[in-house]
Subunit: 428 residues, 2 copies
């Protein structure tokens, strides 16, 4: 199969990238999306925001790929000289855009801010450029063609760039270049370490190669994603091949796959609860609100998420969750007894159908010989009982919080689904 | 003052970087260290590991900077390609290096592995290159000079590259180039939009230019960072110049700067509370636990953070925080009255010295004509009263949660510091 993909060079503008203050995650995000959509990223170039540097990079990349994507240098302030450079390089001149200005006015009006002189200047655009609207920020993107290259300029603010690229630019590029079909599916797994999974999947992985499919392991704290991908002209055939491999994978690890593609533990749990018209509440100690944050980041979560108690101090644990003081003194906050009482306490208090509780030592300090940093108890309660497990993670606070959160959410998922071994909790 | 820093181009080799599977943290790490040591990074270029790409990038970067640092393509598997390219580009030939071979033998002996024929090939090096020993891996680095440019090749494995760069390469470069000092400071601001700040600082910014200092605006949801930087031979003078500009900035926006450099809102608030031996608790609705998560992500936060109630359902707001039911029905959950009662309710319940409450419509659904998506009330309570403000943000749930969180934390900071206008709350 010959290489038919349209080629892309990515140019990131920003002194903060060159002095190492900011890691260029924008470029990686763009490269991932472009690759997934069937484009071939040839080069990523990071340069300063000095106008002569921007001008010379335009000369350098021109004609060397079908597309050049440039981010940064389009904000409202004075470090943004890009528009002048565009005018010079593309022999264009700045004209006031009523459309861009009214978008700025609309955004500012909603935020209760008045429009300034700087904002009028922001609405000036090179006359040869086509504007790409920015639905969530004041600086739109733009594109121009020259020397058989499509030059696209986008703001560098990550969430504005991502929104613009996903909803406006990718459809535009796909229509212009009809890239070969690249298909991938991502499988989300919780609770199996990367090296163990790799051993378990050895035979299954060999099968992928003979079908011209590729596999990548993408680990995150507490979660492991597998990405199966393939390229070709027959989309339906590719989809079937990948689906067959997933069916085989499900036979090897039936209970640990919690979702696919854009699923997250919190969105999957949200659907499970909605399907059952069930509700949930949380009593978090060591996870400090991170489980609540993830659950409430799902649109519509107010339908099943009643609330949480972040019980950091011992007084709050005892007074608000009704923990037995003698047991608390005897076993300590990080114990099976206390985490189970936290889970049943919040269940009673909120009247939810399910509850989750965490209690542990996130670190970096606070450990002991008996309970080292990284020791974390997690409990899930429901009307049929309470189930708990102990984990020992590492020494890094942020990683421990994330691993405990993923583990707790997956435990809740398994209890809801009554996975064998997860419904045999003690009676409340 | 003329620019006297030695210039550097960084070239990262690796297909995994171009498909977005790996974020180029190596380049950021190198850029940070080089900048701190007084070198000027002009460009970061990421290319594929195909040999023709490597050859053509050598032609492209040659003569355009004093130094070119190339990472990747020197491991035991890809070795031959890069070394062949080097031989071709620098008209050199491969010779066996006894020194490199004995290092490989030493490492293998320690790991209990025997040396193979492939390893002998690994010890062959271009005869015009000077070897940079690798004390923790088998692939050494090397450097060559051509066209007034010093070309340095290093392995791409992060810990090997870092060790080599810190202990061998930086001393070598410093001796060769006697670099000038580069200094930067970052100023963190909350609550002023980028364009408004740009208007307010117009005169102050002009002053920077005449002092040969540079400025960059670095926005994040709800937070704006300013970076002032400068280069010169006199480090103390530079530090004073930058400090003077910060003093002048403090006169223009005395209350909105919350920190510098590695500070975060949550770490700054942590210090303020520790200094006062004060405690805090939260009643979060629309922010769903994100404020709690940030506060508890600070090591040692259990000393001042007592806990939170994430009151998502109306029942929990009313039952657990003692909200007046009639007021709740009349004003709705997203109102001045309810958010203030939430703040005073959690203060009473936990006995903390300060409390913060949020209630709003994070979106994407749930808005009305009177209270559109993005409407958010924030209250801060203390023993001396309760203070609240209303904000109208945008339509994106995740951005709204982040902006509301940054705004709420900064409001708490201002109340703790008794900033004028933030201590005139109503009596509890």
């Amino acid at each position: 199969m010959s290489e038919k993909r349209a080629t892309v060079q990515i140019v990131s503008i920003g002194d903060e990238l060159l002095i190492g203050q900011v890691v260029n995650t924008n470029a990686s995000w763009m490269a991932t999306l472009l690759t997934e959509k069937g484009f071939h990223v040839l080069k990523i170039i990071t340069i300063s925001d000095k106008s002569e540097e921007i001008f010379s990079i335009l000369e350098e990349v021109s004609g060397r790929s079908d597309i050049v994507l440039i981010t940064g240098g389009l904000g409202p302030t004075k470090d943004d000289t890009t528009k002048d450079v565009i005018c010079r390089y593309f022999s264009s001149k700045l004209v006031f855009s009523e459309e861009v200005f009214s978008n700025i006015e609309r955004l500012f009006y909603k935020r209760g801010i008045s429009v300034s002189e700087t904002n009028r200047k922001q609405a000036e655009f090179p006359d040869k450029a086509t504007i790409i609207p920015n639905s969530i920020g004041t600086a739109p993107g733009l594109w121009l063609e020259q020397n058989n290259t499509l030059f696209v300029f986008m703001p560098g603010v990550p969430f504005e760039m991502k929104e613009m690229m996903g909803s406006k630019l990718i459809p535009l590029l796909s229509e212009k270049f009809h890239p070969d079909t690249f298909i991938f599916r991502t499988i989300h797994i919780q609770g199996i370490p990367e090296s163990s999974l790799s051993d378990m999947l050895e035979k299954w992985e060999r099968g992928l190669v003979s079908e011209n499919l590729s596999l990548a392991y993408l680990p995150q704290p507490g979660i492991l994603r597998l990405r199966i991908s393939g390229t070709g002209s027959d989309k339906a055939l590719l989809e079937t091949k990948i689906q067959n491999k997933i069916e085989k994978l499900l036979k090897i690890i039936p209970d640990d796959i919690f979702g696919y593609d854009n699923d997250s533990l919190e969105s999957v749990i949200g659907k499970l609860l909605m399907d059952r018209s069930a509700t949930v509440s949380l009593a978090e100690s060591c996870t400090g609100g991170y489980i609540s944050h993830l659950m409430t980041s799902v649109p519509g979560s107010s339908k099943y998420f009643l609330g949480s108690l972040i019980a950091y101090s011992n007084e709050i644990k005892i007074n608000e969750l009704g923990i037995d003081k003698r047991i608390f003194r005897k076993e300590g906050a990080v114990s099976k007894e206390v985490v189970e009482q936290m889970a049943t306490g919040i269940l009673r208090k909120t009247g939810s159908d399910y509850s989750v509780a965490t209690s542990g030592i996130a670190g970096p300090d606070g450990g002991s010989a008996e309970k080292p940093v990284g020791t974390i108890w997690i409990a899930v309660a429901s009307h049929s009982g309470v189930f708990s497990q102990k984990y020992i993670f590492g020494k890094m606070r942020d990683v421990n919080i994330k691993r405990a959160t993923a583990t707790a959410l997956n435990m809740l998922r398994k209890v809801i689904l009554q996975v064998p071994g997860y419904n045999s909790g003690s009676e409340i």
